[in-house]
Symmetry: C2
Subunit: 543 residues, 2 copies
């Protein structure tokens, strides 16, 4: 048990859960009953002892780079390099715990777009790879230097984190890419604005990272994905600096914003983001609704989306995720009794819990909630009132924090996500769940659960979480399960990723998604903007 990992909460662990969670007795009981006992790993190195391979940049190179950004803004010490080694996927966490990391050869902290351009120019001349680093929260291997065949630097954007300008009339904010979500909300709140983007990695992820990965947040059904929020981007490429996006909508040729949103650092370094912001909602209402079966819930969510009365937050847990939620934080007392009676009365063998949240003006929340709840009721949903909804709101960032505890206890825990059309949701859920459960059964039982969220008129995303007992080769164990699930996703015509991105982990399946012709287009753009191939080589399958 490497409690010493806690020494750098900032990196390998997410730190103690903000709501004070952790593996409490209820969680341990649930795991014992549904997954089985795991053996805590031994001999994991303390975080400070995780070995970093020797740096490969010459003293002269280090000196030149330091001259560009200032000597305090370049780090080659082990601690800095360790902190920038990889992201936060299960495989990344495992590599640290197994003392098997690779790391960038230096960490550079630019302050201006001009410094970014100068660093890129030097790296191009010297054939050094550049990995732009925002919050370091990639869960798809987007920040791993493993396999990068050249020296590399991590370009840490945390010093470019200003709120540059707010156009209050147009609801626009220009920000530095290194700003985090909490910092932005803190700066916008006194002006009466919010971004409303809440990915689970919210405490750390950066605005530039949102853009680079096409991230979605828990309120994206109402507030939009990062794609929708980006009015314009400034991007520094080896070919020069480009500004894409001018106004919300244009017909001035193809929308080049879409080429850089989701480019994961392979086409350029995002140095400024102009975001659409919203007024802080005057009212919020969160509620939980229980359906007697999953299908009823899916139908209700579909109707809400297609009738354009979707809530701002919409999440439908499948029966497995519902069981976990109810075991951990279901309503006790009177609420719990009513629920039990209801479920018995409906002979609900597959109860499925939904969380819905409305935000906006008081009138808008009241009216939309009214209309929404009537659709839910017509589909046999029963409102549990605000208690469970509020509990979810309080605990909604806990997931990533619990992962460290589960790894400490010897469990495999990871998530994957996809999106598909409504007509395929039920089958896809069944088949992905089965593929994960089957391949993870090597070490005993696996617990697979999912929720449907990010609701669109034509479909929705599915987000799976698995917990299993680690076997002797836990990395390989997950890789096989992930591959099996992804094959099912591809066979169903669903997308290989709804909001996590491609990174290095999804790259083998990108041709199945966009065709070799699609990859060819990306490669042509890459070759044009980055002929030397220095920008995050390997992500999107591009070199």
């Amino acid at each position: 048990m490497s409690t010493s990992f806690a020494l750098d909460h900032d990196v390998t662990r997410w730190g103690a859960a903000p709501s004070g969670g952790g593996l409490d007795q209820r969680a341990r009981d649930f795991l014992d009953q549904h997954v089985g006992a795991a053996t805590p790993p031994v001999d994991e190195p303390a975080w400070d002892d995780v070995r970093v391979p020797p740096g490969r940049l010459s003293a002269e190179s280090v000196g030149t780079l330091a001259a560009i950004v200032g000597s305090g803004a370049l780090k080659v010490d082990d601690a800095s390099r360790r902190r920038h080694a990889g992201g936060l996927s299960y495989l990344d966490l495992l590599a640290r715990r197994r003392d098997e990391i690779t790391a960038p050869d230096a960490v550079v902290f630019p302050r201006t777009a001009a410094q970014v351009a100068a660093v890129l120019a030097w790296c191009e001349t010297n054939d050094v790879a550049v990995l732009a680093f925002g919050g370091g929260t990639s869960v798809v291997g987007g920040l791993r230097t493993e396999g990068v065949p050249k020296s590399s630097i991590s370009l840490d954007m945390s010093r470019m984190a200003d709120l540059i300008d707010v156009d209050a009339e147009s609801h626009l904010a220009r920000v530095g890419p290194g700003m985090t979500g909490p910092d932005l909300e803190r700066l916008l709140a006194p002006r009466g604005f919010t971004l409303g983007h809440y990915p689970q990695s919210w405490h750390r992820a950066s605005i530039g990272g949102y853009a680079a990965t096409r991230s979605a947040g828990q309120a994206s059904t109402g507030y939009g994905r990062s794609d929708d929020m980006i009015e314009s981007l400034e991007v520094v490429t080896p070919r020069g600096t480009i500004r894409v996006g001018r106004v919300a909508a244009s017909a001035a040729g193809p929308d080049l914003r879409a080429l850089f949103v989701g480019s994961e650092g392979a086409f350029g370094v995002i140095t400024e983001v102009t975001l659409r912001i919203r007024s802080v909602p005057a009212a919020r209402s969160y509620t939980a609704v229980m359906f007697p079966d999953y299908e009823s819930g899916v139908q209700a969510f579909r109707q809400l989306a297609q009738q354009r009365v979707a809530a701002d937050v919409m999440r439908l847990s499948d029966p497995q995720e519902t069981a976990v939620t109810m075991a951990m934080s279901g309503p006790g007392g009177r609420g719990g009794e009513i629920l039990d009676r209801y479920l018995r009365a409906r002979r609900a063998t597959d109860p499925s819990l939904a969380i819905l949240g409305w935000e906006g003006s008081r009138a808008s929340v009241v009216l939309r909630r009214l209309e929404g709840l009537s659709v839910l009721r017509r589909n046999r949903g029963i409102s549990l009132g605000p208690t469970v909804g509020d509990a979810w709101l309080r605990h909604r960032f806990d997931g990533p924090f619990l992962r460290d505890d589960l790894l400490d206890a010897g469990y495999l825990v990871e998530t994957l996500e996809t999106a598909t059309h409504w007509s395929r949701v039920a089958d896809l859920r069944t088949n992905v769940s089965a593929a994960l459960a089957d391949t993870l059964s090597t070490s005993g039982r696996a617990y697979v659960m999912s929720h449907l969220s990010h609701v669109y008129e034509t479909g929705a995303s599915l987000y799976f979480t698995v917990v299993a007992v680690q076997d002797a080769r836990p990395g390989e164990q997950w890789r096989l399960a992930k591959a099996a699930a992804t094959e099912v996703i591809v066979d169903h015509g669903a997308t290989i990723t709804h909001h996590h991105g491609v990174g290095r982990d999804h790259a083998p399946w990108l041709p199945a998604e966009i065709g070799t012709e699609g990859v060819g287009i990306l490669a042509a753009v890459k070759h044009h903007l980055d002929p030397q191939g220095i920008l995050n080589p390997g992500v999107l399958g591009l070199d």
Copy 2:
């Protein structure tokens, strides 16, 4: 007076206005008073007499192409080539009336994507340009062969116009690119669906054309732009066939849909479109609202968008457009009296008329209308009731049809459009209007009017219409005015086109919009997909 143009309503003219409009006495009075008398042009050729340059394809070439698509599906006669010469901009119409057209050397009507691929392969080998032709409604020179330095064929997609499949559960329709809006609505209606896309060119424009040009329609504030409606596209390129877009939202790298939507035939030929469709609304409510001044109307529209209670159709006429509307179809009788009293009471020197339309479930229309009207009232808007709203709905496709009558009478008439942020709307309108009025004053007074529509949270589009007396060189007269207006637009940081597209006419200003770096990216994609440069050379400034 070339009444004989009426012989081919289908092409040079839009035909009689569907609502039976035309230049009635009220229109003639308004023109006399506000623009001045024009002299009808003489010696315009009859449509059948407009000269077509000799075709440049050899008999052998024609035979080979005919073998690909079938002999009945290739036309080289003058009438067919004339019908495919250019689009429907003022300059296009003028060229026909001046007997100065260029034309493609043949018109090919493919039936399948495989035939499109074979035609492209032959054209690549033989260095023949390919201009995909949907409804032929480009108003930015997207279909003009003038300046194309090689032989060219028009690829008329009208035989690929099937409704291939409807996924009713997922609200998706797969259609052939050659289908028109009216045909699609006719096929969807019995199934309870609608696309809800109503560009002014609706009677003719094709679905493939919507995608190729990023079109927007009159109800786009509610139903979304064509960009928003496209779930996936199949595109045949000289490099092979690509399918872009899989589900509504994905993070599988950059969204390649956005590279083909708006590509105007320069990257490939769209051979299939999967569209998001909606249930036919159970209720509709259109109303007109009068503001005492333009600024109040802009503020009301901004608040509706930013409070996310926008109507599905939103259009705010400036005082000049309001004057025209009221002169042509304002309320008479009791409604007219009330309005006059209201305007006098408010000392409204700049009355501005808004049209708002809500569509959806009965409950949704009632609730959203209620909330919307309260915002409008708070901004000094007074509802005129449904009369004017319904009149607008009835006449909303008339604009293009009136153009022919105005040209017959010797007037210059054209439109241009842009979009900008809310904080710049008022200045941009003032300055573009002034630039147009100034440059068009060579021939006397010009009447410039505009409306604001296509409302977004961060901004809106502005759509200008000008009427002036033609001077001795009417083409040059318009080119100068358009250039002056576009310079103002660029200087304001607005977009050079919100939904008309770039074509050949806007191409000189595309670098000002997306930078030479942006044009460089488009050129790299073009070179990758179309190394021989056969696809619609000249549009987007690409060869």
